[in-house]
Symmetry: C2
DNA sequence: CATAACGAACAAGTCTGATGTTTGAAAGAT
DNA sequence: ATCTTTCAAACATCAGACTTGTTCGTTATG
């Protein structure tokens, strides 16, 4: 679809300038004003921006993460490579708790034809696996956050506390040698902690951009990780520090 | 899609005869053999039948219910009317636990734009409501049954036990004045019981065909129901008996 | 009141998914 | 072993859905 590229252009332009007029966006994208209006309406529903008469202004705070629908398309190739590597680290028959986030969604897709027990922490991954006959799927309780569909809250905590897993696959918003794993959302962080507490082995996934970044909510120190899978462009000093902390770092 | 009708024809023919050849089915439906093969493949994946070279044999035991994908298309209009009536019985702001099944899925769709707290017991309904900004969605834990995607098991029981609802909307496989509400699946029945136990008010939905029928698993006596919504073709002696048992019966 | 922006409705173009046909391979029968 | 039937992949075709652009009446704003 050619519309994805246009949506990205509009999102970027609005985020960069704060607010942009419809005519301007039409000129930028080469599409008609009507199409731009429809796009703006769609983005407004996703919570990316706010319409006003004549244009739109960004709702994304600096540092806040863009909505799921956008992130899930970005760097798909890298995420797939990481996901394939993670799938290789998991043995048939294992029980796995799978974190929310776009990278973990790709991991779910990579596990679709494997004989495993999987509890995903996001409804996106649940849906990706609900048609897989080989996978024993467990759904945690909880309240799905809009868009993200990540499950959080006391029901999620209770579901995790009731079970023990061989492996936890965690996504994150930031990885740092001294600050460890961090997340944007406090509730999310609590769920990740519960997942770690219920698992014998912890594998983290993180594209290179996450390295050295620190988000609001602390999840766990780097030493809590057993392995971390990232792409080849991750900075050497960060991966080195993690290796020295006892984490098996895999770059694909 | 016009394929639904053909799938139904094939399912019926195979179920009636036990096993049917591909050529026969092609003649029956008027479609090419290739199309029949593709349909058989799809139905085999749904667990309706089993392929063998030259044809297919039924896997549906007499009395067992057909797969979700088929049931969800049958009698849609009736289900929608029943669902609209149920939606009318629920007040804004209520907390509702919503059973699995195709009729309850229509209820979920009818509640999409209402301001409510809803915990659906099937992933189909969860997905129907996950984009609804007005609805506070709660997901119960559990193991989704393939196809049906109804959540069952200890995690589901625990999720229900932890909460109290204003209203439970229950589907069923059979309603009978003396046998009460019954279900095909034992685990399902246990979940329905837990839903009843956690709710102040119980509304049952049942198309006319469910009346007087009794399935394997007992859920609750008719006296446990506060209201029952059905369509106009339900037999008078059954609805009368329920009314005498203290159930408010609504026919739409 | 005038102007610009909006959105509903329609038309044209595009894309996707379903269906049928062909054909080479595989399974089963003779 | 050979022949026949069935299968499934590949390609062609078609219909319907979706996207986009245009027009035009309506609405908001100065």
């Amino acid at each position: 679809m050619g519309s994805a590229e246009r949506l990205r252009q509009i999102t970027d332009a609005v985020r960069a300038a704060g607010s942009v007029g419809v005519a301007e966006l039409a000129a930028l994208t080469g599409a008609s004003e009507m199409t731009v209006r429809r796009d703006l309406e769609a983005l407004a529903e996703q919570g990316v921006l706010e319409r006003y008469r004549g244009g739109a202004r960004s709702l994304l705070l600096r540092g806040a993460e863009p909505p799921f629908a956008l992130r899930s398309q970005e760097g798909l190739e890298v995420k797939r490579r990481i996901a394939a590597e993670v799938a290789g680290l998991i043995a048939d028959g294992e029980s796995v708790v799978l974190d929310s986030g776009t990278t973990c969604l790709e991991v779910a897709r990579a596990l679709e034809h494997r004989r495993l027990t999987v509890m995903p922490l996001s409804l996106h991954a649940v849906n990706a696996l609900s048609g897989a006959p080989q996978v024993t799927l467990l759904v945690p309780g909880g309240r799905p956050r809009p868009g993200e569909l990540a499950l959080t809250g006391p029901l999620t905590a209770a579901s995790l506390a009731a079970l023990r897993f061989d492996t936890a696959v965690l996504g994150c918003c930031g990885v740092h040698a001294t600050d460890g794993l961090t997340a944007y959302d406090l509730d999310d962080a609590a769920v990740k902690q519960a997942a770690i507490a219920s698992s014998r082995r912890v594998i983290a996934v993180a594209e290179a951009a996450k390295f050295g970044r620190t988000a609001l909510a602390h999840v766990a120190p780097a030493t809590a990780l057993h392995a971390l899978v990232t792409d080849g462009t991750a900075p050497d000093e960060e991966t080195g520090a993690l290796t020295r902390a006892g984490v098996t770092v895999r770059q694909v």
